[in-house]
């Protein structure tokens, strides 16, 4: 395995690391590892680095890089929206690998905003053959509401709290992010509002029609929108995913996957899913 630091694009290049397996084969797809929120390209708890090395052990080349303005990439002067920039920059990265390594097929992987970007990009670039997403777009279903509110409605303290708040106009305590100056602490503030469900359903249908394999991992850290195993399929029940969708739910995992066992599950599962879809 060899790791190579690269700069892609001009005049403000994107910084990235290519991890190339010992027996590199350009006919195999390359894995493109995207940023999650504001975290730089090593990924949460170094997940992207470890994933890249494990992929290389399985004979796959990967690139982890920073979108402009994030991590080790300088900001670019542009009037593009975040969504437009990510798509444009992803295209640059794929063009670079196609030109320098002769790779024509790609798998995009990302967590949270990276998952969203991998989905958006796969809609417009035909070189993407599969996407792996952690906590991607998902929508609440009636069963989500039942799981979420059902147990609470049976608890006496919940009702007591409701009435106390309602009648005493209880003051809300300031949270951490409200107590410090915004200049000094940055939370991911990308346009993370979910697109309309029908729009995503249409997009997913397009991907399925193109035969794109989709792998989704949902964590317990996203319980505000996701709380049971088959919710993704239920929220897009009109789509026949056939064998193209693999969806998994790990309620014990947090959103930034800090537990070493959880990280191992993610890495192992992504590698075996890729191996399965590429018949490697």
């Amino acid at each position: 395995m060899r790791e190579i630091a690269v700069k892609i694009g001009q005049p403000t290049p994107l910084a990235g690391i290519i991890t190339q397996p010992k027996n590199f084969d350009a006919s195999k797809p390359a894995v493109v590892i995207l940023n999650s929120g504001l975290m730089h390209h090593i990924g949460t708890c170094r997940l992207s680095v470890k994933l890249a090395r494990q992929l290389a052990d399985n004979g796959l080349l990967s690139i982890r890089f920073d979108f402009s303005g994030l991590g080790d990439s300088a900001p670019r002067r542009t009037t593009n929206s975040y969504r437009e920039s990510t798509i444009e920059e992803l295209k640059e990265v794929l063009d670079h690998l196609q030109k320098t390594k002769g790779i024509n097929k790609f798998i995009c992987y990302g967590l949270c905003s990276g998952a969203h970007a991998s989905y958006e990009f796969s809609l417009i670039d035909q070189r993407v053959i599969a996407i792996a997403q952690i906590d991607p777009y998902c929508y609440r279903t009636w069963k989500w509401y039942l799981n979420h509110y059902g147990p609470k409605l049976l608890k006496l303290e919940v009702w007591l709290r409701f009435f106390t708040r309602h009648f005493n106009k209880e003051q809300k305590t300031k949270g951490f992010s409200e107590t410090i100056e915004a200049d000094n602490f940055i939370m991911p503030n990308f346009p993370q509002e979910y697109p309309d469900r029908n729009e995503v359903a249409k997009g997913l249908k397009t991907l399925v029609d193109r035969g794109i394999n989709i792998y989704c991992i949902f964590t317990g850290g996203q319980s505000e929108v996701f709380n049971y195993q088959s919710q993704f399929r239920d929220s897009f029940s009109e789509i026949n995913f056939n064998q193209l969708l693999t969806d998994e739910y790990y309620p014990e995992m947090n959103h930034i996957i800090t537990h070493p066992d959880s990280q191992k599950i993610v890495r192992d599962n992504i590698c075996s899913w890729i191996s399965h879809i590429t018949n490697n």
């Binding site: 630091a5 975290m39 708890c45 080790d72 300088a74 992010s177 000094n184 939370m187 070493p260």
Partner: protein, 257 residues
């Protein structure tokens, strides 16, 4: 900004070199020693901004990752504190070679400050200025601090110390050996061989005062309190980062003075 790998190929270190502004170029270079764990993630942007600002002021600047961290080679389970101290020396050498200057300063954040100080007891390295930003003052206090934090925010995900005595903190382990090695380092007992030291803190604390007292006789020593966020151990659910602008500004001002 040039990302690159340096050092021996089996122990390659990842670094980012910031070229000095041609108009204001100085014959001086600065190495930034990062901290470890979630703090490293939260501080990445601040270190990048600090490096860019200092490069605009004419300094050659190198940021890098220790072995087993960031993009550098190896896994954290296989590295030692001794390795990290060697890595700082390798980075100093690399910076001298890349920049062509002999004058090197170091800025260390948190654990990076402790390691940088331990490195600069070697007179031969000939470091001119040393900035200790919210330093960990001893390996022992660091260990205690992490354990207190874990116990305070104990969740199902927390498994503070495993059967091998490895301390796990928000997804970043510190092995028994690393903890033992760190426990032998105490800033109050060190005498870094540098011309000037800036000990800069974002909040006053017992530990900061302890170091201030221990080093107050050193002519090279200066202490500054600059009110800014410094809650490095706080970890949110979405990977938020910290950018303490007043500290970055104060360090840049001190370096350029």
């Amino acid at each position: 900004m040039d990302p690159f790998f340096f050092g021996a190929s089996t122990q390659a270190l990842y670094g980012v070199y910031h070229h000095p502004n041609k108009q204001t170029t100085r014959n001086e270079a600065i190495l930034i020693c990062p901290t470890y764990g979630q703090e490293y993630m939260r501080a990445h942007r601040a270190n990048k901004q600090l490096a860019s600002t200092l490069a605009k002021q004419g300094f050659h600047v190198l940021r890098f990752d220790y072995r087993g961290t960031g993009d550098s080679s190896g896994e954290i389970e296989d590295v030692t504190i001794e390795n990290w101290l060697e890595d700082i020396e390798t980075a100093i050498e690399e910076l001298r070679e890349t920049s062509g200057t002999k004058t090197v300063h170091i800025i260390g954040l948190r654990l990076g400050a402790l390691l940088a100080s331990a490195t600069t007891i070697n007179k031969k390295l000939n470091i001119k200025k040393l900035v200790l930003w919210d330093p960990i003052i001893s390996g022992e206090s660091y260990d205690q601090e992490l354990q207190t934090e874990i116990n305070r925010k104990s969740t199902a995900d927390s498994k503070p110390i495993d059967k091998n005595s490895t301390l796990h903190f928000h997804g970043f382990p510190l092995s028994k050996e690393m903890r033992e090695d760190l426990s032998t380092i105490d800033l109050c007992e060190l005498k870094p061989h540098v011309k000037k030291i800036l000990h800069i803190v974002s909040k006053e604390s017992k530990n900061a005062n302890k170091l201030k007292t221990a080093w107050s006789d050193m002519p090279a020593y200066e202490y500054a309190f600059v009110k800014a966020p410094g809650d490095w151990n706080f970890v949110d659910d979405v990977g938020g980062i910290m950018l303490p602008q007043p500290i970055l500004h104060a360090i840049t001002t001190w370096m350029t003075a």
